[in-house]
Subunit: 673 residues, 2 copies
């Protein structure tokens, strides 16, 4: 019997067969593995007691997912036999009518020769436990099976969310629902929808019909779709928090109701980076609040969650500065600057939201000393603002470091802990104000076609950070389990892998022979942070069908090549494989180049392909030098490093992610004194 | 200007840029390509005149498919500009309320600098023309474009069908609908559903509710789903012909209504090859016809098509022989044998079907001299029975040679022509009785998961045989265009590629490193004809999740390796690539073998993997011998060939499809006198 608890040490050091080998993500609070396996066959009997209808639906879903993953029609034939093992599910309580942030999500799962026992005090625990159980099922030599195990599990943070911006690029309901399925697998519990921005208002409003009629471009969720989505999410243990961004990012409100503008109202929705008339709402007129009261009132009823997100970020004060009416009003009301004006606005909006029975949530910028203490601050500007919000007594969640659209690696996000940095020094009571975190997927450069590849599987690493113990930080383990998760998500219908492949196929077209494009594609990643908008104007009508849109944000191939190269100086066994890869890079460009001009989808790839070829040549030379053991001069090394550095340039909004592999080899070459 | 007509010769010999390079499948009757391309951008204006609502739906679908394939949101932004080119669609007539077999499906398509003109006399022509147009869209250096072209096109046969057996394995509506989408792309026009068999009755019956309640196992289409499917198919130019198989293959009828049995009625639906109590309906009692009258009457109303398929195949006479009541009745009615008894049954059923306003269709076995001439014979037993039906004055369609479940290659099916063999000698009037053909997908070993990979893209080759001119027979061209079609079908939602990959991934699990399984998987094919049931008992409850279920029926990789090897004796340039492949085979087994026992999904693969390794060794030796030019003895060659022959054994219901490559090399080795 092997124990694996919070320390997670066994995951690194443990022998085969222990808990550390379980393909669970997020990692549970405690797992004990025993010798033996329960066979998953049709003799298994299912018994469910307690809970509410979510439990029964979850069991049906479990059987459906189990059938899909195994290819065995368990969902049709799980009749059980009297002598069979039992899958016993006991829920000792019912959940809240509207899922709340403070509900008990813990569960106990035990698998032994007599069957499976899953118990929880709340249906949410059962839902999570069934996801764990499904991740435990594996193919054995004689059939599908589950290792004997005992798992006691509960989340570290109560708020584990993901935000999707459906304003800049609208995402059909189906795309959102399959992402909810993915969220459920990794035990996330909040879907935050960014429903309005300068580009469009995305929910049907009956009380303010121009929001949909004039400000959606025809792309919006009907109220019945929203209700379907909320039920869909609730059945999977996920709350839906709506965001309607005010007073900035509010051009859609203004296109529908131009009188709400500060200064001149733009005539149409924002379509591109170049559309720079983006006034905020006018906070000085009662009519603004009257409309918000109507719209928010309607939306507050439609979305049952206790929280209501009003945005509040990035208000551009110049429109207030330049509007004489607003300036006059500010003087007459003793409001000294724009910050104070936004504070005034936020306080009035908070009253509206409060009257609707909701807790107001907003981005960092709404924080102000007078803000009612029950408000929730979503911190996007950094860990410091998170800590200071918590210290000021506000409930808060972390999003800085979890922006998926910035194209960082899973390990980057994995290292971001809501209780690290300044927060680590907070008192226990202050720390308790940090409810958790939320990843954010802004969609300037994302369409329904590549939404999934922008989110998954990286999101699993963030989900683990928010669910698992603080000490669960082994990056190799994370990546190993993330790759298992990736396949499991594909069975659940997520299109991160298939979508990426289809998009690459579109660029290959009918003429480009495999694997020329793939060789390049595997070695690149989209540029990071906000670099893309430096070279490609964001325009909601532009096609997003090039290589940068097709490849995942993180190149698994590059990570493994870079890791291999880091070992090559001391481990001769990896050099042959590196030579094979470098030769392929070196030779690829000459074969790929003749095809590049034929299709506009391949525009801009030529220098990237040339650079990969150069890296191949440099990598082979570095391996030769290492193996020859002949020292090189400082100048010669620097010259080589400069050549490598030259391949770090961005082309077609992409960068070569394998560059470090060659750099590390050159640095490992023996040097002269 | 280059002309490409029926002769198709240019496809083989023509220079680049001519009609032969068009990625069209099925190939049109006549295509003329001119220099130049029409840019597909948002300046394009769409004008539609005439036709019925199918035309407008088809245009919307065209834009949606165009958007999906290109990644450009044409479906949202095709506003057109006054000076833009025009996509002008003119339909000079309307179609029948219920699509009929004799409607005009021809169209004319012209693409030039001023735009696209598509004209047809019937909406069906417009539908086909839009599919052609979509296949013409290609990525150019500066954007998406369509070559200037003039196409005049019409089908060779009026009946171009595909049958899916939804009785043995039920296929959800969604799986059928995506296959209808695939059918529409290749201009097929009949979906034949095999709706009842020994394993289940798959349509909701309200008038004979036990057919659904007791004989479907809960797996059936509701009447509303059937209506949805029929509308879905009609909008895509496809008729839906229902088949309810009687008097054999009728256990589902009997489980619902045991009194219909000849002899003892089985208590439950057939589940496995071993369930051998499968009596036909009792044709000697009026109650049988009374029930058929009720059920067929209901189904004839539900399915509006003019044809109604009553099966009639493979009646097992022994049940009639052993039923004393039946024997007595036959004697008293002067019916001398079982053939005459089935004839009696068929004639009574024909009257029922006729009274419902339908034309009766049945398999070969219903053919009898007294059968009303308007009946349609579906020939599954061979080209001879097709010819004799046509000669006897019956309308007939060919299915022999088009059975997709027998796992033959696309080229095998491509070579089957309804007017070849005995039919070639028929008179023009007799030939006119041959309406076309129908592929058949029986589903003993097919689930919704691999249905698509069992059908596509091979079905494209059959579709071309039935649509295109007799002389369109170039196999290399067919395969080239089939591979383009395959990708296009994937954009349309067909899961032949993704499903196969997912299933292989399931077998790889979390332990098996790439590309070990893939190397084996690429080189194998499922066993052919009815060989599978020799080693794996057919059982509808058995999982179909092994390698045989995952790989496509035809291995593209093997075809190309075999073709390469055939050139190797005279073309030294291909030998290096062959060596690379043979080395990979040789080395793969040692790396794969250690993983095989760990998962039951890999059972039986070991000998196959060993054989592939042996072939690699033999192939390398043969290349050595060819390159050395040293003659080998007859004995030595025979010895080598015997070793190759030994790798032709079946394992795990699979065979190595690359075996010919090594055989041809050994045969090419220089010999001694």
């Amino acid at each position: 019997m092997k124990v694996c608890g919070i320390a997670f040490c066994l995951l690194i050091a443990g022998p085969a067969g222990n808990a550390a080998d379980l393909n669970l993500m997020p990692w549970p609070s405690a797992a004990i593995v025993q010798d033996g396996f329960l066979t998953v066959d049709h003799a298994l009997r299912i018994e469910v007691t307690g809970g509410d209808d979510r439990v029964r639906r979850a069991v049906a879903r479990f059987l459906k997912n189990l059938s899909t993953e195994t290819g065995v029609p368990y969902d049709r034939r799980f009749d059980g036999t009297p002598d069979g093992a039992t899958l016993s599910i006991r829920c000792t309580g019912v959940g809240r009518r509207v899922q709340a942030v403070d509900e008990d999500e813990s569960y106990h799962l035990s698998v032994s020769g007599t069957g499976v026992e899953l118990t929880a005090a709340n249906p949410l625990g059962i839902l999570h436990g069934l996801e764990t159980l499904l991740q435990l099922v594996e193919p054995g030599p004689h059939g599908w099976r589950i290792p004997y195990v005992r798992i006691d599990d509960a989340p570290r943070f109560a708020w584990r969310g993901m935000m999707i911006d459906v304003s800049r690029h609208f995402m059909p309901l189906q795309a959102i629902e399959r992402n909810v399925d993915g969220m459920a697998e990794v035990k996330l519990n909040v879907l935050h929808l960014h429903l309005s921005d300068d580009e469009g208002f995305r929910v049907e409003s009956r009380r303010c019909p121009k929001l949909t009629g004039a400000a959606s471009g025809g792309l919006f969720y009907t109220q019945s779709q929203i209700r379907e989505l909320i039920a869909y999410a609730r059945n999977r243990g996920i709350r839906v928090v709506p965001e309607f961004d005010v007073p900035g990012h509010a051009v859609s409100w203004i296109v529908a109701y131009p009188r709400l503008a500060s200064g001149t109202a733009p005539a149409r929705l924002v379509q591109s980076q170049h559309d720079d008339l983006r006034p905020p709402l006018n906070p000085t007129q009662d009519s603004t609040y009257k409309l918000l009261e109507t719209a928010f009132g309607e939306m507050a009823k439609l979305f049952p969650d206790a929280y209501f997100h009003i945005g509040g970020d990035e208000v551009d004060g110049k429109y207030w500065d330049h509007d004489p009416e607003i300036q006059r009003w500010m003087r007459s009301h003793g409001i000294k600057d724009n910050h104070a004006l936004q504070t005034y606005f936020t306080r009035r909006v908070e009253k509206i939201v409060h009257k609707d029975g909701k807790i107001m949530e907003g981005w960092d910028e709404i924080l102000d000393s007078d803000l009612p203490k029950q408000s929730l601050i979503q911190s996007w500007r950094g860990a410091d603002s998170l800590a200071s919000a918590a210290q000021s007594g506000y409930k808060t969640i972390l999003s800085a470091g979890y922006y998926l659209d910035l194209m960082h690696s899973a390990s980057y996000h994995y290292a971001v802990d809501p209780l690290a940095g300044k927060s680590a020094a907070l008192s226990p009571a202050e720390k308790a104000n940090i409810l958790g975190g939320e990843a954010a997927q802004w969609t300037e450069y994302v369409t329904p076609e590549n939404l999934d590849n922008r989110i998954w599987p990286r999101m699993g690493a963030i989900a683990e950070r928010l669910w698992s113990a603080e000490g669960v930080t082994d990056v190799d383990s994370m990546y190993r389990r993330l790759s298992v998760l990736s396949r499991s998500l594909a069975w659940r219908g997520l299109e991160h892998e298939t979508g990426s492949r289809m998009m690459l196929g579109r660029i290959e077209g009918d003429d480009l022979p495999a694997p020329l494009l793939e060789t390049l594609a595997m070695a690149v990643e989209p540029v990071k942070e906000y670099d893309r908008e430096q070279t490609q104007v964001y325009d909601v009508t532009a096609p997003l069908n090039r290589l940068v849109d097709s490849v995942p944000p993180e190149s698994d191939y590059s990570r493994s090549i870079n890791a291999l190269a880091a070992r090559a100086a001391h481990d001769a066994s990896v050099r042959l494989e590196l030579r094979r890869q470098f030769s392929q890079w070196r030779d690829n460009d000459a074969r790929l180049e003749p095809y590049l001009a034929a299709s506009h989808l391949r525009l801009g790839l030529a220098p990237l392909s040339q650079d990969l070829s150069k890296l191949g040549v440099l990598g082979l030379a570095a391996l030769d030098a290492i193996e020859a053991g002949k020292p090189i001069s400082v100048d010669s090394r620097n010259e080589q490093l400069a050549l490598v550095q030259a391949t770090a340039a961005h082309h077609a909004e992409l960068l070569l992610a394998v560059t470090p592999s060659v750099r590390v080899l050159i640095e490992a070459e023996p040097g002269t004194q």
